[in-house]
């Protein structure tokens, strides 16, 4: 169901435009918590954007301390290579 891109090392702009649109939740994972965070004369601070993320939790329902995952017990703690940036 995802775009299957032939691995040619580069992707022409048209290739992925033809595929299905990316899932909004995958996009928000990246745009609200990823991307370079800049400073300076910004209209909105990153703290505000983080607030937005929290306000949207009713929809996105990211796992938080108050809302622990049911599988937390089963999850092995060792993945040191995966510290969130």
């Amino acid at each position: 169901m995802r775009t299957q891109v032939v691995d040619d090392g580069r992707h022409e702009p048209g290739d992925r435009l033809a595929g299905p649109p990316v899932a909004l939740i995958d996009l928000l994972d990246r745009l609200l918590t990823g991307g370079a965070v800049l400073t300076g004369d910004l209209v909105l601070s990153i703290a505000d954007v983080d607030l937005v993320h929290i306000n949207l939790r009713a929809v996105i329902r990211s796992i938080t301390a108050e809302d622990p995952a049911p599988w937390a017990r089963a999850a092995a703690p060792e993945h040191p290579e995966e510290d969130t940036v």
Partner: protein, 297 residues
């Protein structure tokens, strides 16, 4: 002829001149600069500049400084000032519109060359803010672009889907235990279901570990995103792992094959690969001028 109501005490002619200047120069009080991403000033990104294509259909243009370019749109403060922007981000349809427009520009750049995507809703008061930012972080941006060059981001999500799992073998044990009260039978059934679900989560965790090990050599870095839940997730089953990997573009097929081999064949556990994405999850931190993401080892 431009019209204005700002004649004040001045002559009409002066007012007209000022009105024309305002239109041409787009004074900073009325306009803001939305920034999508940063790349090298080597001409590769020049074709992205053009009418439309940006947030709310605004034109995309390049702001060059110190060997770097920022992909930007000049946007009205009425829509991109602090308050309107905040309101928009808290409203899902508005957020989605902005996110998809931001992504479209970043993705078009990513299709051509290395790009450093910026966080959604990075808006400067004026273009001097953008050039100042490019100069201030020039070294860090250049290092990041070098680091990210020739790489793609791939997402790997692990799902538990109990509906896709065969009934647990203990199911049969219930028949041999003699007559039980309906309440007791219900509790036993719940216990079995819970145990079955816990087994599935353990299996999914094992799959997650297998996938992590399988791509250790191929991926250059990895980041764990929060697992996805709720109506937006729109997937069958429960998302138990949601990772992003930075992978050399020419190793994407190998990465997918490794994930497929490590993640398939476990009943009730599904693994999904998304992407290729621009390296959103590996774009920070830049202020320190160091690498974003973390090296696998």
């Amino acid at each position: 002829m431009s019209t204005t109501d700002r004649t004040d005490n001045r002559t009409e002619a002066t007012a007209h001149v000022r009105a024309r200047d305002r239109t041409r120069d787009q004074p900073q009080s009325q306009m803001r600069v939305y920034v999508y991403g940063i790349g090298r000033d080597d001409g590769t990104l020049a074709p992205l500049a053009g009418p439309g294509g940006g947030v709310d259909g605004h034109d995309v243009r390049l702001v060059a400084e110190g060997g770097l370019v920022a992909l930007v749109s000049d946007v009205p403060a009425a829509a991109f000032g602090e308050e309107p922007l905040r309101r928009r981000l808290e409203h899902l349809p508005g957020l989605e519109e902005l996110a998809r427009a931001h992504h479209a520009v970043v993705d078009a750049a990513f299709a051509r060359t290395a790009v450093l995507p910026l966080r959604l809703a990075t808006v400067y008061s004026d273009v001097e803010g953008v050039t100042g930012m490019l100069l201030a972080h020039r070294g860090g941006f250049t290092d990041m672009l070098t680091w990210l060059d020739g790489h793609v981001e791939l997402g790997v999500k692990v799902f538990v889907d109990p509906a896709a799992s065969p009934p647990a073998p203990e199911h049969r044990a219930a028949h041999g235990s003699g007559p039980t009260s309906p309440g007791r039978a219900y509790l036993q059934q719940r216990r079995r279901q819970r145990r079955g679900t816990e087994d599935l989560y353990r299996a999914a965790e094992e799959v997650r570990g297998q996938v992590t090990r399988a791509v250790l050599e191929t991926a250059r870095a990895s980041v764990a995103h929060r697992t996805q839940q709720g109506e937006l997730s729109g997937e069958r089953g429960m998302n138990v792992a949601n990772h992003a990997y930075l992978v050399p573009a020419n190793a994407e097929a190998r990465f997918r094959a490794e994930v497929e081999a490590a993640g398939s064949g476990v009943a009730g556990v599904r693994v999904e690969v998304t992407g290729p994405w621009a390296p959103y999850s590996f774009a920070s931190p830049v202020t320190e001028g160091g690498e974003g993401g973390t090296a696998p080892r």
